[in-house]
């Protein structure tokens, strides 16, 4: 069956001229076709050129980029040859874009209603008197609550999820025949993401729109798309139906990518891919993926394969496509606490009734308006004992307080109440300045964003020297040797010592950050979203590294992440947090299986798996809460299983469902 291609990109190459005069290609000879009513997912990581391709389909190129060859057609119209005013009529009308970061993409000085009315005025044939009704209608279609009130709000007054829905409404205003979506759910909470994807899925079906969905998130793509194209280093390397690509990929990169993503039903660590994706401008000879590919041989490294069709209807760019079955699929079991040599049930760290507050008392407000209530603490009632050698995962969405707890343990924030004990007896001073050298050395932290956690002016050698000098007084030749062996333990060569962070990739920087933390030979390492800022294909390698270091040194980890699968892969025990309060804590396998705390149930239901056959369960609304309730259960306003008034007034009791597994809920254990 051949459908008339609605969006058609042929042999498109796009690039820019660097300061040294070279032409750097961002897209290399890319061809893609989308038919009416078809949803195609475009998967790729940083440097793959996927966003550029999506924008090119609209005839738009960022400042500095130019077309080197090829064409882009929309419904037969050559987008690259159109004049500005012709393009205007199509863009936002028949062909609409939903941008990545709606918070930045909505004009801050215009109200929501005004921006939507503008879209209507440009692209619909309605009489202007009908605009305001249509705006409310559009907002209702994207399932925004209270649309009449929303119309007069400004973009910054909305949450991320609401802003994204407004962007979708704006795109729909022109009754588009095709939608381009550039990472529309990046940065949103798990539950919000799931809701928005459902909305997009329904809209696509209702309106028979052609859709190009660009993302690095395979779970999102599997939910929305019929066909998938995988991009690597500016080229398309694999196309096929969603089932084919996600369940039985024929390209080593796609295969490696899928096995490196942690899954909820996995019990071992994912297999990591070597290396990192090439950045635009790097010299590539032969296949772009060859240097990372376990199947590569000399032919792969010297000749560049073409994108060829296979019998099953896919197209693959690989010489070794028939050998995919030989790719490694087995993976290591993560080192669990029980496997360690020095098994003890000593407590490494004890958190007792910890309460932390960010907000300070506003003296002027309380002076002028006496009786303004003090906002409730950001984190409250946290009592957890972390055992030596275990990995405790902390999960939750934004506002759950997980990073705040880590900062309090590190001494960067002073808790309002409660205390933190090291080894069951030493109470840690709340401020890091007051702590002893010994306790400082034993607790180390790794931060989320490697661009930010390394001083851009220091070389790797200087970065590693700091803890070595501070805690062990090393210098000179001994210092250098210690630094080299640290680098080796994170699988970086000694030649990295003289590099600056700007010369390293994200994954390399994070390894340096890990090396820096381990330089102190700590007992406890706090990991704050350490894989969240990395490319998908690099994340597994970092997790693998962390696990290996733990095996060798018996470190205790507290691992914070919003990604439930990642946390499950690496943790012994998991604690689920909501609005700074503990909901559930127990062994990882137990927490991820019934019986659940109602919030855990909602959270797990919303997780998107890269499997087209698995659909998320959406139980609660995706309302974002900015502060916890003053008393009672933190989940009271959204809980689908709320009992009644007791949830609003009394703190839920901690019930032991099974040995070591506690759930804080008013619902009796047998009913959970």
């Amino acid at each position: 069956m051949s459908k008339h291609p609605f969006i058609s990109v042929k042999s498109l190459s796009v690039g820019y001229d660097s300061r040294s005069g070279k032409t750097i290609q961002v897209l290399r000879n890319v061809s893609l076709e989308i038919s009416r009513g078809e949803s195609i997912g475009l998967v790729g990581e940083s440097g793959s050129g996927k966003s550029t391709l999506a924008l090119a389909a609209m005839g738009y190129f960022k400042r500095g980029l130019r077309v080197l060859q090829g064409s882009a057609h929309f419904d037969g119209i050559d987008m690259l040859a159109l004049e500005r005013d012709e393009l205007q009529k199509i863009r936002g009308g028949r062909l609409a874009l939903i941008p990545q970061n709606s918070g930045q993409s909505l004009t801050p000085t215009m109200r929501i209603g005004q921006q939507l009315t503008e879209a209507l005025r440009l692209h619909s044939d309605m009489a202007s008197a009908q605009f305001s009704d249509r705006v409310v209608e559009l907002l209702t279609q994207v399932r925004l609550p209270d649309p009449a009130a929303l119309v007069s709000r400004y973009p910054h007054e909305l949450s991320g999820g609401q802003q994204q829905r407004v962007a979708i409404a704006m795109a729909l205003a022109g009754e588009p025949d095709a939608l381009l979506l550039d990472e529309p759910t990046t940065g949103l909470d798990v539950t919000t993401q799931a809701h928005i994807l459902e909305l997009l899925r329904d809209l696509a079906r209702e309106r028979n729109m052609a859709m190009l969905y660009v993302s690095h998130d395979l779970g999102a793509i599997s939910r929305v798309c019929d066909r998938v194209a995988v991009m690597y280093a500016g080229e398309i390397v694999l196309t096929g139906s969603a089932r084919q690509v996600l369940l039985t990929p024929c390209h080593p990169y796609a295969h490696g990518l899928l096995t490196s993503i942690p899954r909820l039903n996995q019990t071992s660590l994912p297999v990591a891919l070597d290396g990192r994706p090439p950045m635009p401008g790097e010299a590539i000879s032969g296949c772009a993926f060859a240097e990372r590919c376990p199947l590569a041989d000399d032919k792969c490294r010297s000749k560049s394969p073409d994108l060829l069709p296979v019998t099953t209807g896919e197209t693959v760019r690989c010489f070794k496509r028939d050998m995919i079955a030989e790719m490694p699929v087995s993976s290591r079991k993560p080192s669990r606490k029980d496997d360690l040599d020095n098994r003890t049930s000593d407590s490494a760290l004890g958190l007792e009734h910890l309460a932390i507050s960010y907000t300070k008392k506003d003296w002027l407000a309380s002076l002028l308006f006496p009786g303004t209530p003090v906002p409730p603490a950001t984190v409250d009632g946290i009592s957890i004992t972390i055992e030596k050698g275990e990995t405790l995962g902390l999960v939750g969405e934004s506002g759950s307080g997980k990073s705040t707890i880590l900062k309090a343990i590190a001494g960067l924030i002073s808790p309002k109440e409660g205390q933190i004990k090291l080894h069951d007896d030493k109470v840690l001073k709340p401020r890091v300045e007051d702590r002893t050298a010994v306790s400082l050395r034993q607790i180390q932290m790794i931060f989320q964003n490697p661009d930010d956690s390394l001083n851009p002016r220091h070389t790797v050698a200087q970065i590693l020297a700091q803890p070595l000098r501070l805690y062990f007084g090393l210098h000179g030749e001994i210092l250098r040797e210690a630094s080299v062996s640290l680098l080796e333990s994170v699988r970086l060569g000694a030649h990295y010592l003289d590099r600056l962070p700007s010369q390293l990739s994200g994954g390399e920087k994070q390894r340096v950050a890990i090396a820096r933390a381990f330089a102190a030979e700590p007992e406890i390492v706090l990991c704050d979203e350490v894989t969240s800022a990395l490319d998908v294909s690099v994340q597994a390698a970092v997790l693998d590294l962390l696990d290996e270091l733990k095996t060798r040194q018996g470190t205790t980890y507290i691992f914070v992440s919003h990604d439930l699968a990642v946390v499950k892969a690496i943790s012994d025990r998991v604690a689920v947090l909501y609005q700074g309060r503990l909901c559930e804590i127990g062994p990882a396998d137990a927490v991820y299986k019934a019986p659940f705390h109602p919030y855990t149930e909602v959270l797990l239901g919303a997780v998107l798996q890269p499997d087209p056959d698995v659909a998320p369960t959406l139980s609660a609304d995706d309302v974002v809460e900015f502060f916890p309730p003053a008393c009672g259960c933190p989940f009271q306003r959204r809980c689908p299983r709320k009992l009644g008034r007791i949830c609003d007034s009394e703190t839920p009791p901690s019930r032991e469902i099974a040995p070591g597994h506690y759930i804080n809920c008013h619902i009796p254990a047998r009913d959970l």
Binding site: P108, T109, A272, D274, G275, R276, E282, K407, A410, G411, L412, V432, R435, A437, L440, R441, I443, Q444, M445, F447, Q448, N449, D452, S453, L454, N455, P456, R457, H458, T459, Q466, P467, L470, R491, L492, G493, H495, D498, R499, L500, Q503, E508, A513, R516, A520, A541
Partner: protein, 294 residues
């Protein structure tokens, strides 16, 4: 697992890289040339000036430019060309010393305020703001008038008053840097305050301070020449462009050359410094635009 072996860009010294970037830009090349030219001129002018700058010759008063006196003579018969060549010496000496002093003292206090934070910082900034609201001329003139116009008064006065705006800049830069994770990381490791300032903060704030320093220098030169113009800076017979312009102003209608020489000299120096500062900012990658609030 394979060790990562992508080829690295040569690290080299950052300063050399920045310098190369600076001179590759036309504004940077021209600016730097002008600045260096003037500095060299200030150093060698006493040796190459054809006439003694003090030498008065009543016979030559306000005479036209000729082969001997290239720019003619001023109202006291002194050779304008020689005086123009030497007119930047005092200005460059005073501002050349006062600018680094201003940046150091303002930078130091600004970083301190930025680190202290909280109530104390707010209160102190109010005092600084109050101070800044007074007209600069007033503040300086009061001191100069009380204590005299010698170099030993001008340098500290200029350094003190021009350091105050640097406090704001250094404080803002400090606020930006201490919010970044690598400073939190250093704090969490247990590094002391001094160590954090010296190792983490300073290298990152230095860029901003350098560009600010270059701009301060040009403003200070403007102020210095304005003061001389008003009669409160250099004392005669020392040649100074501002003073020369002031003296020659009254005779402009028939003897404009007394004005043109110092005007070109002074303007070229200040433009040179500004161009260099602009190019330096771009080479360091500093965005000096005042940000739109959105």
């Amino acid at each position: 697992m394979a060790v990562i072996t992508h080829d690295s860009t040569a690290s080299g010294s950052r300063a050399i890289g920045v310098f190369k970037d600076l001179v590759s830009r036309p504004s940077g090349a021209i600016g730097l040339f002008l600045v260096i030219f003037h500095i060299v001129l200030a150093l060698v002018s006493p040796f190459i000036a054809p006439f003694d700058y003090k030498l008065q010759n009543s016979a030559l008063m306000l005479s036209q430019p000729d082969a001997v006196h290239w720019l003619g003579a001023d109202h006291l018969g002194r050779d304008v060309f020689s005086r123009t060549l030497m007119g930047g010496r005092e200005a460059l000496l005073v501002t050349g010393v006062a600018t680094p002093l201003a940046v150091i003292w303002g930078g130091f206090v600004g970083i301190l305020f930025g680190l202290v934070g909280g109530r104390l910082d707010e209160v102190l900034m109010r005092v600084v703001d109050a101070f800044l609201s007074l007209p600069w001329i007033l503040k300086m003139l009061v001191l100069i008038v009380t204590f005299g116009t010698g170099v030993e008064v001008l340098i500290p006065t200029l350094a003190f008053f021009y350091g105050i705006p640097v406090i704001r800049i250094a404080r803002a830069a400090t606020h930006d840097v201490i919010a970044r994770d690598f400073v939190w990381a250093a704090k969490a490791r247990g590094h002391g305050r001094i160590s954090i300032i010296w190792r983490e903060l300073l290298p990152n704030v230095l860029d901003t301070l350098m560009v600010e320093g270059a701009m301060r220098w040009s403003w200070m030169l403007l102020a210095f020449s304005s003061l001389s113009f008003l009669g409160f800076g250099v004392s005669p017979p020392t040649p100074d462009w501002g003073l020369m312009i002031s003296d020659a102003r009254g005779f402009m209608s028939f003897a404009p050359w007394g004005v043109i020489g110092p005007v070109i000299a002074l303007s070229s120096l200040i433009i040179g410094i500004n161009l260099t500062a602009d190019a330096l900012a771009k080479a360091l990658g500093i965005d000096r635009a005042q940000k739109a609030p959105m």
